[in-house]
């Protein structure tokens, strides 16, 4: 069972029953609130026309040292994507603030990691909203959706 | 061709102190290379390394260092890297060589 980490803490997956589908399947789907799965090397421009009918995107982190997912998330937000953005795979508690600040809404982790790094390690002291150099420097920015 | 197995000791750095330590016959970690257990058969060595690497809260991950028996019958490193590591730097009398001098 997957655990979903959000600012409020751990919760169950409320997208259960709706599976994430690949980009090819998304293209032919008639569904107006798609949940799609993207690899961290996805070709984003190709996604542009699909964005309006996507309700959730999940980006996989093959291991926590591979930071491509952070750039993919940033780019999706720049493209105007305002739906749900989820990171999944090997993301550790110490990366929660980075993920939130890059545009992710939530992280999906497995039970083993949830047991080793329990809820308080994800939310305590990780006051990611309390400010960053980037927010300070680029204060006047026309901020993309977060 | 089967490569001849070179004798080995098991070594790592302690998690808290960071210093180099060596696995002894009694299964404890000694700061002295000479105290280490010398493994001469591959199977016994692999098994011991596996066991050692389960102590994840004590050290940072153990590995084999090639060794030979010195004239006093204690293991000593064959490679200069492990020799330096078992003594300390050559520019100052710091590290293990200093600790030895202090005993």
């Amino acid at each position: 069972m997957a655990v979903i980490v959000r600012d409020q803490g751990f919760s169950k997956d409320d997208l259960d029953g709706r599976s994430f589908i690949g980009m090819e399947d998304a293209e032919i789907s008639e569904d107006l609130s798609l949940a799609i799965e993207l690899p961290n090397h996805a070709d984003l421009p190709a996604l542009k026309t699909l964005l309006p009918k996507i309700g959730a995107i999940r980006i996989n982190f093959p291991n926590f040292g591979d930071g491509r997912g952070f750039s993919i998330a940033t780019k999706l937000r720049h493209m105007g994507y305002a739906g749900r953005l989820r990171a999944s795979g090997h993301v550790i508690a110490d990366q929660y603030a980075l993920a939130r600040r890059s545009g992710f809404d939530e992280i999906e982790i497995d039970d083993e990691l949830a047991a080793r790094q329990p809820e308080n390690q994800w939310i305590s002291g990780k006051d990611w909203k309390s400010g960053s150099y980037q927010d300070r420097l680029l204060k006047t920015e026309l901020a993309p959706t977060r | 061709m089967v490569k001849k197995f070179t004798a080995k000791v098991i070594t790592t750095n302690r998690l808290l102190e960071g210093d180099a330590v060596y696995l002894t016959r009694d299964g404890i970690w000694s700061p002295e290379f000479g105290d280490a257990e010398l493994f001469t058969d591959p199977a016994g060595a692999s098994l011991a390394l596996e066991t050692a690497n389960r102590q994840t809260l004590l050290h940072v991950g153990a590995y084999f260092a090639d060794a030979e028996t010195d004239p006093s019958g204690r293991p000593s490193p064959t490679h200069y890297r492990e020799r330096l590591r078992s003594m300390g730097p050559s520019n100052y009398c710091h590290g293990k060589q200093a600790e030895r001098a202090n005993v």
Binding site: R116, Q134 | S90
Partner: protein, 555 residues
Amino acid sequence: MYKYSEFDEFFVRRRVEEFRDQVRRRLDGSLTEDEFKPLRLKNGLYLQLHAYMLRVAIPYGTFDSRQMRQLADIADKWDKGYGHFTTRQNIQFNWPKLADVPAILDALADVDMHAIQTSGNCIRNVTADHFAGAAADEIADPRPTAELLRQWSTDHPEFQYLPRKFKIAVSGSSRDRAVTKAHDIGLRSIRDAGGSPGYEVLIGGGLGRTPMIGAVVREFLPESELLAYVESILRVYNLHGRRDNKYKARLKILVHETGIEKLSREIEAEFAERKKWFAGVDPELIEALKSAFKPPEFNLSRTGAFERRLEKDSGFRAWADTNLFEHRCSAYSIATVSLKPIGGTPGDASANQMRALADIAERLGHDEIRASHEQNIILPHIRKDDLPEAYDVLAASGLQTANFGLVSDIIACPGMDYCALATARSIPIAQEISRRFAALGIEREIGSMKIKISGCINACGHHHVGHIGILGLERAGVENYQITLGGDATETAALGDRAGRGFSADELIPALERLVEAYLRLRDSCRETFLEAYRRLGPEPFRAALYPETGKLAA
């Protein structure tokens, strides 16, 4: 000098607490060693051969007496009474214990310092010309740019897990003292035809395995667009840099494999997207940064004390001759304090030496100190007539070595005496070279000579850009040293050519002696430097000197 804002203070304190917590979570098993390692590296903490090593940032090499004294106190309290200044304007402590590191980081925060991003696969401590704000040849002070980049890159959410480390250097002069061409991004302050400030941007430089000189990716970037452009470079690199092979993961390989034209188009495309919602940096912040680095009030009066001392003291004269550089203000000099005593460890300073340097800076130097990538300390603003007094304090602490730019002013990485990645030692080689040439008494006759030594292919000792580069390798179980010739770290940057087969530690010093003798014999006048002679004559006569047995090049 830049002083921490409330936010800086808040940020570094929070970061220390976060690290304290991470140490605790490593010890209770919440974090595996594999997970903990990149976290400790991003806080400057390595595990070396004998102990942990803490690398403290001295952003763009600028610090003051209070900070220097704190470094001295840290060296005394938690280390072995000394520190090692590195080729990236950092200082390293070689013996801290893991449990003490949070306290050390707190002590650093007390004086506006940190160890953040001095290691790991992220944007590293930004370096700059060590004569910034003082050199007569300066066009623009690079430090406001470097500080802006420091802030922007610190804990940048997108760029903490890059394919590999990422180094940025900034120069504000036509003379390049920051080795900008050997960085992932090199920035050089320039003005466009209309006189607006901006940068020439180079990318893809780097030493290490497959060394490369950076290529110009943008001839002119307006100052106001810097962050958006740098971000675009980083984003392209983060998404497309190789992650399958550590030795092919640096930006230089992406530049090499993609081609600079194509990559430049990709960066420009990203930049065009980025600019759509980039409103620029708050101009007030930029102004505040610029005014933070305003030059001190110089005292233009002269007493003649400098000239009087020159006349009567040959030791002072020798020091003044090599270790002083032209200041933008004629009553002042930039003084280089050599951390290369004959037979010493390049870059090391004892706690007491650090305190002596702090005293001089505070009393006579407008409270400014610089660490140079050449592992020396710079006192950037010393009034000429105060130099005799400064020199006396230096001499009392063994800091008066008059060898800046000479054969014994060697860059050497820690090598296998400390470094876990090393393949050979570098410090003893540096010690022997400096002893040998001092004994021969021909240092001044040889003149400008940059010897740079690395203990492995990672090239922290910048050997590729040394006039003579030395790379320590292992060959059949013993240390072996490979020589490169003709490297250059300045605005005329060049990678050295491999001379031929390597030398054992015993053979190395005699070989260098033959090389230097050949240079002295071949130069067309005593003005022609080794590098000039090498460029004029090519490698052959120098190879012949290194390998007399073959009479010519050994492949």
